[in-house]
């Protein structure tokens, strides 16, 4: 069953290389955006000295409160709504977080063609389904309900 090869498969190496690059890019960007936010180089939607009054609230109340007091948007900022406020220091920090959370999707999509090319249809199909499921989770379509 085993081919006695201690080397990682080409798909495994490709996955690792992409994961490493995106992870480093995400972390580097996170440090930069957080420094911009923390040092007050960029204005934030919620002032730094006010944030501690909100993080004790349940998420639903937190979003309603910051929308009522600062954002004044038609809807609370769920899903990808943070993109509208990406010019503000606090919301800019969602960009590297999204890169880190999106890394796995890119890795999966990258290995699918190689798996099918090598005739590994079962794994090609599973990788494709996983990418679709993660994309669905990322899309915001599943973020419903609340308390």
């Amino acid at each position: 069953m085993s081919d006695n090869n201690t080397q990682a498969t080409p798909e495994q190496v490709l996955y690792a290389v992409i994961q490493e690059k995106l992870m480093l890019a995400g972390l580097l960007l996170m440090f930069i955006t957080f420094a911009l936010y923390l040092l007050g180089i960029m204005d934030s939607v919620v002032p730094l000295d006010k944030i501690s009054t909100y993080w004790r609230l349940p998420v639903h109340d937190y979003l309603a409160a910051i929308n009522a007091e600062y954002l004044h948007a038609a809807h609370t900022p769920t899903g990808w709504a943070w993109l509208k406020f990406v010019g503000k220091g606090d919301f800019l920090n969602f960009l590297p977080i999204a890169i880190l959370a999106g890394t796995t999707i890119v890795c999966y999509l990258a290995i699918v063609p190689g798996l099918f090319r090598r005739g590994d249809k079962a794994y090609g199909f599973m990788a494709l389904v996983e990418a679709v499921i993660l994309t669905l989770a990322a899309s915001g379509l599943l973020a419903v309900g609340g308390h």
Partner: protein
């Protein structure tokens, strides 16, 4: 060479960032403007992020020395002793576990210790169920989630206390499903210079168990290494090294799906997430260096006691007993 360079760049970035975070400049900037507003607990706003940085730094050290993931320590401890709402703690906990896994994954995959063939079917089930767990967890009242979290943490304590590990489980014959999926591999055991051929058995039972593992990971925002390793190692018979490495890599997939649900629901506050990530990463770097001199058995007992207290505290909070 490239790896060493990347390590150095990473260390430099971490040092710079922690320098910024620890610098009083950012706190003083707002104080100078006369805008430091004490909150209900009488502390200035920066007290908690700074405390978070300190405690996650210690957590990072303990996690490495105790052989557990940062996520499993993060959620019960931060939700039990910090003023943040559980919704945000779970969101941050998933991102902490995710970042740790993304950082470790490439090395483990390249070394062929984490197996993509083993991870792909497991991850498909666990990540799908993690989405369900996250949605259920965010729909339930906080006290119910807190109570269930407490019970789960106490369950993890029991698993840590009782579970034995097997370096090389005896797998007589691979089952039909793992044979069909060719879930097997070869790695070189550095200590003995031995080439180990491994295969797995009880694959259907293992995959079934990951339904619950994934669900709980999503529901509570815990990294699921505490469950992944026993299932991969003891139930499916993967060697311990392969199980630990694949589990670490697996978290990057399971936690991604749940993290997106928390992110899209607005459960992420950068002022909590970034200090936590920096603290855990710096602590892990120190922990790896301390590993040579520390007594792992003592640390493991310490982790079990901390988790038992944090689990009891979560139960106490969830049930409104106010005993702890």
């Amino acid at each position: 060479m490239l790896t060493r360079l990347q390590e150095r760049v990473g260390l430099l970035l971490l040092s710079l960032m922690s320098g910024v975070l620890l610098s009083p400049a950012w706190a003083m900037a707002s104080e100078a403007a006369g805008v430091v507003a004490p909150v209900a607990d009488g502390r200035p706003w920066w007290f908690w992020p700074l405390s978070l940085l300190g405690i996650t730094f210690v957590m990072g050290i303990v996690a490495v020395l105790g052989g557990v993931g940062g996520g499993v320590l993060y959620v019960p401890i931060i939700s039990g002793f910090f003023p943040f709402h559980l919704d945000f703690v779970r969101g941050a906990g998933l991102l902490v576990a995710l970042a740790g896994s993304l950082a470790a994954g490439p090395g483990l995959l390249k070394a062929n210790l984490a197996s993509l063939r083993l991870a792909i079917p497991v991850a498909l089930i666990a990540s799908t169920c993690a989405i369900g767990g996250a949605m259920v967890g965010l729909a339930l009242p906080t006290n119910v989630v807190q109570t269930l979290l407490g019970a789960t943490i106490l369950g993890i304590v029991v698993i840590m206390f009782t579970a034995r590990k097997s370096a090389l489980p005896d797998v007589k014959q691979a089952d039909a499903l793992s044979s069909a999926l060719r879930i097997c591999g070869v790695y070189t055991e550095v200590s003995s210079r031995e080439t180990i051929n491994w295969k797995v058995h009880r694959t259907p039972q293992g995959l079934f168990t990951f339904i619950f593992v994934g669900f709980m990971a999503g529901m509570f925002g815990l990294g699921a290494g505490w469950a992944n390793v026993p299932v991969l190692n003891l139930m499916m018979g993967a060697p311990l090294k392969i199980s630990v490495a694949t589990s670490k890599f697996l978290l990057s997939i399971t936690d991604t799906s749940a993290a997106w649900i928390y992110l899209n629901k607005g459960c992420v506050i950068p002022m909590m997430v970034v200090p936590s990530l920096i603290g855990i990463m710096l602590g892990s770097l120190v922990g790896v260096r301390l590993l040579k001199v520390a007594k792992p058995t003592f640390i493991r007992w310490m982790v079990i006691i901390i988790l038992a207290y944090a689990g009891a505290k979560a139960l106490d909070k969830g049930l409104g007993l106010h005993l702890l």
